[in-house]
Symmetry: C2
Subunit: 768 residues, 2 copies
Amino acid sequence: MSDARFEVAPWELRWCGLDLDALQRTESIFALSNGHIGLRGTLDEGEPVGKPGTYLNGFYESRKMPYAEAGYGYPAEGQTVVNVTDGKIIRLLVEDEPMDLRYGTTVEHDRVLDFRSGTLRRSTVWTSPTGRRVRIRSERLVSFTERALAAIRYEVEPLDGDLEVVVQSDLLANEPDPAKPDDPRLAAALDHPLVGECAVARDLSAVLVHHTRRSQLRMAAAMDHEFDVAVATRCDVHAENDLARMTIAAGVPAGDRLCLTKFLAYGWSARRSASALRAQVEAALAAGLEIGWQQLLDRQRAYLDDFWAQADIELDGSPELQQAVRFALFHVLQAGARGEARAIPAKGLTGPGYDGHAFWDTETYVLPVLTYTMPMAAGDALRWRHSTLGQARQRARELGQAGAMFPWRSINGEEASGYWPTATAAVHVNADIADATARYLAATGDEQFETECGVELLVETARLWVSLGHEDSAGDFRIDGVTGPDEYSALADNNIYTNLMAARNLREAAESCTRRPDLAERLGVEPAELTRWRHCADSMYLPYNDELGVHEQSEGFTRYAPWDFAATPPENYPLLLHYPYFDLYRQQVVKQADLVLAMYLCPNAFSRDQKIRNFEYYDPLTVRDSSLSACTQAVLAAEIGHLALAYDYFREAAFTDLHDLHHDVAAGVHIASVAGTWISCVGGFGGMRDHDGDLGFAPRLPEQLNRLCFRILWHGSRISVHITAESTTYRLESGDSVTLTHHGRRITLTDSPVDLPNPTATAGAAAE
Amino acid sequence: MSDARFEVAPWELRWCGLDLDALQRTESIFALSNGHIGLRGTLDEGEPVGKPGTYLNGFYESRKMPYAEAGYGYPAEGQTVVNVTDGKIIRLLVEDEPMDLRYGTTVEHDRVLDFRSGTLRRSTVWTSPTGRRVRIRSERLVSFTERALAAIRYEVEPLDGDLEVVVQSDLLANEPDPAKPDDPRLAAALDHPLVGECAVARDLSAVLVHHTRRSQLRMAAAMDHEFDVAVATRCDVHAENDLARMTIAAGVPAGDRLCLTKFLAYGWSARRSASALRAQVEAALAAGLEIGWQQLLDRQRAYLDDFWAQADIELDGSPELQQAVRFALFHVLQAGARGEARAIPAKGLTGPGYDGHAFWDTETYVLPVLTYTMPMAAGDALRWRHSTLGQARQRARELGQAGAMFPWRSINGEEASGYWPTATAAVHVNADIADATARYLAATGDEQFETECGVELLVETARLWVSLGHEDSAGDFRIDGVTGPDEYSALADNNIYTNLMAARNLREAAESCTRRPDLAERLGVEPAELTRWRHCADSMYLPYNDELGVHEQSEGFTRYAPWDFAATPPENYPLLLHYPYFDLYRQQVVKQADLVLAMYLCPNAFSRDQKIRNFEYYDPLTVRDSSLSACTQAVLAAEIGHLALAYDYFREAAFTDLHDLHHDVAAGVHIASVAGTWISCVGGFGGMRDHDGDLGFAPRLPEQLNRLCFRILWHGSRISVHITAESTTYRLESGDSVTLTHHGRRITLTDSPVDLPNPTATAGAAAE
């Protein structure tokens, strides 16, 4: 846990000094995004670079999916996020020497991600190989308020007398990537993916329009500039196929500085022409210049002030965790803010990891956070799912099922997984979408969403379960041959997580149809279908091992051979890189919380005693080779009173990216894991549960924390929950009164705060 | 069943007339092979052609295996059989017109595969587009006695006066294939796979030497010619990179004929140089010319006379089945005869199906036939397996197991499967190899083989099971997460077939070590290991459903949803082309005999009542999408007295290729299915069982057959079994006395035949 290099501070993340080996890691951590545009935290001057990256949400290239042995229903094409035209680059020539931190001397070099200003600042003092010293300051933002805009303020200050400088501000398409993918076919698909269509330059501005070869998506990037320099300056701008460049040559007197502001606009479309897209980005740019740098900064800060007022988590006891929690919330915001009916990818727009695909992580880990902190963003993400319902219905037909089958991984709604046993077979994604839908509806009462999307999502996923499962001779409803969250088990029967979530899906669909008979009729739901859904839910089979007194993650799981942990050296983790699936699937080893996740999301299906016994059985089997695991384990450990363990898991979730615990943050921030940091706090130490439309808390703090405070939006009302070791204070900060429970006790929160004692925490089995 | 086009005759297979659409089909059926060289039954003149094919056993090209999502232990390279230099081509020019059956008029066109001469004869009368009429006769053989040799006798006879003809006899490498593989990567790997190294021509002979690009195997093909023609003739021979050609221009007077004999020699090696290989084929050719055409024919016939004396099955009641049985035996012979420590591929050397790979089919379906009819060939095939033991040990290490793990599909001993759930997970292949080893040892007493290969094969496979399985708390030995023979179920627990065959493997290994303590010591087998093997075998778990009173193919299978056969239209078979594995694996649908195969191979593990109940449960679930199924179902149906059903399954097995029941004989003859024709007769109607070293028969004929007679070699003794409706006559035809059972009654067969009555057949459950 000691691989931190970031300096601890409550509202910012700072990395001092130059570390070329950490470039990729910091580029992900320092990535800026508004959910629509994503800019990795590369250095202004373009090089040295770990992995360049500029992303537009939903913009991808298609590629053929190769199979050594193909099978029916395997996706023929996959999708991969594309590094689009890079507008971040501002190169500098210092008296004949290109500014490049690999040469000369880097005297100072600080980078700061500021959670309140929503900007990435950089300050470098550099001595060129020929001995000239300059200070470069830059600040970069991707605007939360102006979705198509990003901007960079760039300053050069001579530190040792008058200085001749040349600044080149670029738009660069088909940027070379020094860190090519391992897979040569993927590398080929991403080698020069953009075909130029239009390159124009005028005054201080330029536009490049490109389209992708196979997917035939079109994008435009535009830049314009403002600068002031006291002395004589030469300017030039030109554009060619893959490059547009604005060049300034200036003499900067000692004591003065060259200050350049670069405005960037991006847009993409599958339908609009090159000229329409050019017009779009030129218009966005005109708006940006009219707003101006300072106003963009001000609006960004105001937006973040609102966000923090609504979403901040304060904790006393660990400044490093305080920072990590805000870092986490900031990246959840960046991933979810302005997606606007596009997917929230597993890495957000911070890197090319997982090919830029969205998974069930979004619904199960990210949307709970957004639902209670930025409900509109949660609704938008579910609207994206709804927009792909046609493809999901088609996929269900292709696979012989009723209703809808959503893809395991996708950018555009089409299944893009090339290994079905832990993808197509992981049908729980459909229940996860339904669960997020029901939770969003329960927390917001958003009737427009319910009418346009919600009921239909619930109904079409419910229909899937009826066709996937069947009743056996004992009257149990069984769902065989599926894969649950644990990817070290596959094609198992009656995975409890899947079965419980399917039962909830069926009940929520039935309830939504009862609530909205108009929509039920439009969707062709007959009363008999409602009865069937409820019956299937009620007879859902949950395997249990009487001898051991624990539930079985899937039927038969507890009879499998125990994994030989003693014979597994530390360097053999993650196991999937050192053992075949064949051997992992046959043994009792769990990649990530599965039954434990079921106990969190469906708490009423288990007695407290069962939760304790199940947790104590499965926790030691769980190797946490997935970043999705620690937060769930934190929640359950907290619930059953293992608060010290819960705290450890909370730290693991919180430091996954900051300490690069999985050695892969280079490819992007784990958005589900940063969301899991919120879940650890709110679901774990806050004990928040939101099943069946009820909001409840059961706060309990580990001894390392003196205080924890978080906020929740519930039907438009904002409440704060302030937890100390002794008591919890609930406060209605805005909106109508809210009814909730505190450790099972029902209270209605109106104008006055309510302070209630926390029961004494008792650990695990001892509590029984 | 009425798609037969072959004329019915006891000792030959004749196809009359030209049918361009049936070209690929007849090329497979008419393929000639001696297990070392394979020539598809293409027309002499090269075109029209369905799929050209000349194969050398073990000669392959490597190719990269592509994965959409790779995993630990996935094979990086696969192997694909290569169409090597084609020496079959003899082109004819009839007065300026190339003889091509697609032009002019085909007046007569007969092709005959002769099971006694071991040759493919052809007779064509053709009128050229300009009206000249000729008869072409050819006869082709691949020598069983001279392993490196093939030969063709080719005659042209003018039917309407003196005729100018040109005959071109070719060796053609990198032959174009009009029927390219669907998979573009496979097509690329096989596009011009051969790199020329040497091309020489002299007198009437020529040699071409090539090597493959990636696998770096080297091959040589050589041809020489003899001809006699009454009149003036011009001859020419030349060789270039991929082509050698001997040309004769001749005037053939009316009433005379041009008669050409072409001798072909083939050789390949992974080690020998181009000049060594050239020398090898030139030497083989010299021997061939010295032997001469007539002697080759005579030796071929003598070889086949011996074979038929030893292997023939006679049956009365269906001439078409009599023909099919001999066709089947002929192809088993062709596949197995002279492999000599090379694999016997699933398609023999008759086509490129399954990439030329060998599977478990060889041990479980083909070797039983060879063990009792050509034991030396069975021993050779097992010696091939033994020669790959190093790779199998390495594979076991890679996958974290002890002992050896043989590949699911391979040419060179390396795993070449690109879909592990029905390949690497189908670990039963190891027990199948052990079973074939034990059966071969029991039937032959071949001590040299036991010393050199047998015990080691048994020991290393036994070690695998101990590491794959584990004992649960109830003391049951479980083998979880494996795939049995039924490929519509995968990654199941305690597949009965696998568990029973593993138990046999463990016992046979223990017995072999007890029998041969010297070898046990050399292999490091301690007494405790023997005890462990026996204990695991004795506590092997066999799942049983008490409620239904049937065994479970795998644990939980009988609780799966029944497949909806009523909703499955005939055009949706084979199911794997119309339904995803995801859905097939989760339901009660069986691709091919699995539990039923276990009841055949391990008959003592089931009571008669269990066999009846199991058969009646599983038979309707079995869709026979695999050609491996019908013969096994025939055997069990016969055993439990469903003789009419057994007869139907026997016909299905026998006509699989002749009637092209699976619509894929174009890619080659199903060697396991033709072997299954023998199994249907001998194991089904003959009721032969050979478990535990005992030889027993329980003959029972269906009413459609009046008589069935077959022969068995047992420790070098040949016995014949002559079955009529009423009785069975056992006769010792040569060798020492043999002890066997007839319907459980033990007899010792010496010089005099023994005639015993057959019990009255009683069907199924009624018999209880």
